[in-house]
Subunit: 177 residues, 2 copies
């Protein structure tokens, strides 16, 4: 598994008991990075075409989202933390383990009815992805698929998002490890 083997596991980050799956070792390797982007590109050219624009979630989602916008010839829309986008935005609050966070999208990020591919590095609880999809829908977009490098199905995000009707794609999984 040339992708999975390039991902570093950092124990007890950001806190005791968490096995953090660190994609920086994958993407600092030119072969690893290319493999990730080529896999996504093949999928969205061949198996799941039919979208208009790519949205990436701050911050790691910007790395893959930027590369994919190039390979697929689409524009790129950043979904950012509160206060980081300069023009008119819509906001979405979502729950963290302790407290809440807010993400935002520009109101004019794309035209009404746009079909949007949502990109991030890792799917755990799915809270951020769900909030990002809500933002896309608030401004009239439709999420065609959510694309991740890593899925952690044990954490439950995949099941939760599928229950809401979202299509999920990931390149590798860590399960019960």
């Amino acid at each position: 598994m040339p992708i999975k083997s390039r991902i570093r596991t950092v124990p007890d980050y950001p806190k005791k008991g968490i096995m953090f799956r660190d994609i920086t070792t994958l993407i600092q390797d030119p072969v690893g990075f290319r493999l990730v982007i080529d896999n996504f590109t093949q999928r969205y050219l061949e198996e799941k075409p039919g979208f208009d624009i790519i949205a990436g979630i701050e911050a790691r989602g910007f790395i893959m989202g930027g590369a994919l916008s190039y390979t697929l010839g689409k524009g790129f829309v950043p979904i950012r933390k509160k206060g980081k986008l300069p023009h008119d935005v819509v906001s979405q609050e979502y729950d963290l383990e302790y407290g809440t966070d807010i993400i935002e999208i520009h109101k004019d990020a794309f035209p009404e009815g746009a079909r949007v591919l949502l990109v991030d590095d890792l799917l755990a609880t799915g809270g951020t992805a769900m909030a990002a999809a809500a933002l896309i829908e608030k401004i009239g977009g439709v999420v065609t698929e959510m694309a991740f490098i890593v899925n952690l199905p044990d954490v439950g995000g995949e099941a939760r998002l599928k229950e809401k009707g979202y299509a999920i794609y990931s390149q590798t999984e860590f399960e019960g490890e």
Copy 2:
């Protein structure tokens, strides 16, 4: 000027008197985004080749840096805000208008002696770029060039960085506007 005309100016953001140059309108347009990445790619294939890896500054630098890593066949290294990288890091503090900020890089981001192309969206005071270069040098890298979409030469960052010996490339400028 197909790049400059796609950049939106937001007056009084993030505070009164600042004319914020917003690249989101440029990159959400597939033609604009492709133009930016093709221009950078041509430069780093033809005029300034000879580097080993690309470093992008959080967060907007990740968008262009990710795309360029793909087109140029290099790995990508994220330079992030304090506390965001999970493994061993080195840190660099730098001055903001009020107070200071800290950015970090993984100690094992690249091997000693690596030649690094540094990418961000906009050059103003040059404070962040200078701190990012310091990080790269602390772990044994050499900055071959700093690449930006937008340069604001009036703010003085370009002059400051060139005085320190850094090579600067930008695709467009806003001056006295």
